[in-house]
């Protein structure tokens, strides 16, 4: 394990037990590291173990086997639970299930208030967090009147107000319209680039994974691929066999490559495609 990694998952297996006592292995021997400032996208179909994995990142679940170490703290160490949760914040899929207060700013203040911070500090954190997601002008509005994309940005602000080192987002755009998706994605990207916050982004939309530093593919509780978007997306046949989408530009380039046209493997950007096509003919 790298000394500097923010999240370190070491040989983690997780077994769910149903009410009837049946056991179901949701994760099996997963190991991975997330470094400070890194943007990691996790893809895989439903039931592949993505969400189970994500819930290990802030001790919502504890491994049945193996260890998860966050910022040097083992998540099994109860005395560090709040440090872990403050370091890694989570945003979930459904925008309607995450907001608890009657105004936007009260909702964002919920976390910092629980930390017992002085009210002036809370005020400052809330203002900064709302500014970071571009929602300052909605501070006194009622959350239920916001659009889906706006609600998700408020949920993200609630996490930001805790000053985390990493945000884990579990399909945050799945229930949003295209405008809302773009709002949320540009917010996440900005927080990653300008604030240096690590991002673990679980998604079904491949266009949201293209710009990641690393893409991880989950299947049947195992991590089956891990690499740069270029490395992962050029494995078109394997991804299709897993019923996952491939970005259209990669799909097109790989299909031409297979017919003997000389293009670099794993093109994920349109500019590169244009350049390569002009050179190859």
């Amino acid at each position: 394990m790298g000394e500097s990694s923010l999240i370190s998952v070491q040989n983690v297996s997780y077994v769910y037990t149903s009410e009837s006592g049946k056991e179901f292995g949701a994760l099996s021997e997963v190991s991975l590291e997330v470094n400070p400032g890194e943007f990691v996208a996790v893809i895989g179909h439903n039931g592949s173990g993505k969400s189970t994995l994500a819930k290990h990142f802030n001790a919502l679940l504890l491994p049945s086997k193996g260890d998860v170490v966050i910022n040097g703290w083992n998540t099994k160490d109860q005395s560090r639970l709040w440090d872990v949760r403050q370091t890694v914040g989570m945003v979930f899929q459904n925008p309607d299930n995450q907001l608890v207060a009657t105004t936007v700013e009260e909702d964002v203040a919920f976390g910092p208030e629980n930390l017992g911070l002085p009210s002036q500090t809370i005020r400052q954190r809330v203002d900064e967090a709302l500014a970071a997601v571009g929602m300052s002008e909605f501070a006194s509005k009622e959350p239920h009147n916001l659009s889906g994309g706006q609600k998700q940005r408020v949920a993200i602000a609630g996490v930001i107000a805790m000053r985390p080192k990493c945000i884990v987002l579990d399909e945050p755009t799945a229930m949003l319209d295209p405008g809302g998706r773009e709002e949320v994605m540009s917010t996440i990207r900005r927080l990653n680039k300008t604030e240096g916050i690590s991002v673990v982004h679980i998604t079904h939309f491949m266009d949201e994974a293209i710009d990641a530093d690393r893409v991880i593919v989950m299947e049947a509780g195992k991590m089956v691929m891990s690499g740069t978007p270029r490395e992962v997306f050029q494995r078109v046949d394997e991804l299709r066999a897993l019923h996952l989408d491939v970005p259209p530009v990669t799909m097109l380039a790989e299909s031409l490559r297979r017919d003997g046209y000389c293009l670099p493997a794993g093109i994920t950007q349109i500019d590169e495609m244009v350049k390569s096509l002009c050179q190859s003919s």
Partner: protein, 287 residues
Amino acid sequence: MSIELRGVSYTYGQGTPFAHKALRGIDLTISDGEILGLIGHTGSGKSTLVQHLNGLLKPTEGHVLIDGVDIGAKGTKLRDIRRRVGLVFQYPEHQLFEETVSADVAFGPKNLGLEGEELEQQVKQALQLVHLSYEDLGNRSPFELSGGQKRRVALAGVLAMQPKVLVLDEPSAGLDPRSRDELLGLIRELHEQGITIVFVTHNMSEIAQLAQRLVVMDRGKIVMDGTPREVFSRGDELASIGLGVPEITRLTRQLRRGGIDIPEDILTIEEAKEAIVQWMNQRKGAN
């Protein structure tokens, strides 16, 4: 069976300070056997429009005719209309409530007065249409199923009424790629079996794959109506009302801008590939 909207307008909260006009003078005819996609920005009136197709909403102005019968006229039996035009809402699995899958699917036809053997047959058939096994899943709780399966149970509940027209509001929203592909395949099969399909979506690639006709809404009006190819070749106009084109169409347009001379109305990867190969061969010939 045909659905005809003549000059339909709808205002929410009419006569109150919160009145909001969601539809403005809609004329639309949906013919038997069509598969029609409806797109528009959030708030453009799509969902309001589809709720008129089976009389859940009645127009504040204009007329909706289902097989020539005016749904707003006195004495029209909306029950008959709702049996013939099945409406599948967004996230329909949120409406599952029965203890077993078969009881949930049976709910609609039971209310229509079916019982016994006939009811069971109808439930079996509906589950078969969505590729779920009555024997394996019929007695299970719907809440134990996967997200994709739940959605198919909800769809079966509507199909059990044997509708002639199926209206689906964002049928694939929130599903993973596998469940999405299964569901789209299912919709295509239902269409091939003669059911008229109207579906609302935000996913332009889905439209390109599925729809024969595409209707575009903006601020309560229909602003475009044509084949997907016709509509998606008007990319700039779509962008001006906050809509996109399929990813592959966007890609080919960007390739064109980069100097690669291929048609701009491409809708599938195969078409794009063919066009690029042709372009490269021409270039080689010219050099």
